[in-house]
Symmetry: C2
Subunit: 231 residues, 2 copies
DNA sequence: ACAAAAGTGTTTTCTATACACCCATGG
DNA sequence: CCATGGGTGTATAGAAAACACTTTTGT
């Protein structure tokens, strides 16, 4: 290894970054950390950090997320690798970006190590971001919108039990447009990924709605098969 | 930079690899090189190599492709980054894989630098591949199949002028199933991405067919808009 | 009783698919 | 004249989209 290093003399460092989305109170939010150290000290950034030599990339993302934010991710996929020569003022740093989904209600987020602070930011109210993280986040949002139209992603974002209107709101929020309630219900019902429970829940006013939960087995079978539906 | 390097002591090397597809004589082929040096000396591999410190990732792929194979690529997109700790026997080497399309007729392929030999291999007659390149190639083939169903990719693979049957054969080849000629013609015609020329060409026997060419402007407009059709 | 949200079917339109015969050429 | 591949239209079925009123609850 040292031999290659010497021959190559390749001074490139490798990091991972994660764009983790959550859904709460009718908003899609993304998990950001305030940087404790230079460069971009005090600015908000995607959680992430340097990959260790003996860990896989996914392990690196999961470790950094847990260290910096306290979040243990339940859905993670690779997004894109950012390698422009000038993207990091410290030198050549290539970053493998990941896309994650999490149920925000499950975790208490707590800053640690390189992070001075952690917070969920609604994707339409983002602060200025460090490095090229705005670019990464833009791509992640596009991925989220794309994914939701051909794969069900509710399972990863909603609580175990939820009223149907939550799922509907999730879709209108992510897609940024109204969808027809009856047609949507029909489509989801046909997929048979939801089990209706006997419980009902009221959100203060109006008629209470039945609670649903995902039929995990059917859900993951469908996901494995690939393209499932179009909203 | 040296400071970070010392603090980090991160001995990870970065390479790029390219899965470049071409279409010729009714076959989808992929460009492979025979390795001149260890490890995997004498085995076939995807063209690629170490990223230089002062070049972007795309530049690295294009450079390596040109150096090793003589091919100047006209379509290139990032595929996936492979970073398992054990994927390279020399140590920790992370590789950013790219997906490329090229018209094989345009280039004379010629091996150089790290490549002892270059050749096009039909994707259904692949030799044993070095590293995890088989895995990479499998993903690249899936990407090709996925792409062709929701984006026209004929422009990048076919000659400037071609009979309609060439486009049809390309689709049946990539998708691995027959498609209905009339329905396919209808769909493509509706997209208005083809201009029919006055010339006709015969391939020896049978009725000669009109030549077509892609209407570049319309073609790239449609691609920019995203999902276009389903075959 | 009224405001607010949940729940529910039918009709219409569009798109995908299935399907078969004639045409132009070379040998 | 025959073998080969090119070229073309219609009918059917299924999916998506448009569309509005009733029900249940809290105040």
């Amino acid at each position: 290894m040292l031999l290659i290093r010497n021959v190559m003399n390749q001074n490139i460092l490798l990091t991972v970054d994660a764009a983790v989305f959550g859904y709460e109170h009718g908003h899609i939010s993304v998990l950001l950390v305030k940087r404790k150290y230079a460069p971009f000290k005090g600015e908000w950034a995607l959680p992430g950090g340097f990959v260790l030599e003996n860990e896989n990339l996914e392990e690196a993302v999961e470790r950094e997320l847990l260290e910096e934010t306290g979040v243990k991710i339940n859905y993670l996929e690779q997004l894109y690798t950012y390698g422009d020569t000038m993207r990091d003022p410290r030198g050549r740093v290539v970053s493998v970006a990941y896309f994650g989904l999490v149920k925000p209600t499950v975790f208490k987020i707590t800053a640690a190590t390189d992070a001075e602070q952690v917070a969920w930011f609604p994707v339409n109210k983002l602060p200025k971001l460090a490095f090229d993280h705005k670019t990464i986040l833009n791509m992640a949002v596009k991925r989220l919108q794309g994914k939701i139209t051909y794969e069900p992603i509710g399972f990863e974002l909603l609580d175990k039990k939820f009223p149907f209107s939550d799922l509907e709101k999730l879709y209108t929020t992510v897609l940024g447009r109204e969808i027809d309630r009856r047609n949507f219900k029909k489509k989801i019902t046909n997929l048979k990924i939801l089990d209706e429970l006997d419980e009902k829940v009221s959100n203060g006013r109006g008629r209470p709605g039945s609670l649903f939960q995902f039929n995990e087995q059917r859900y993951f079978e469908l996901k494995k098969e690939g393209i499932i539906f179009e909203i």
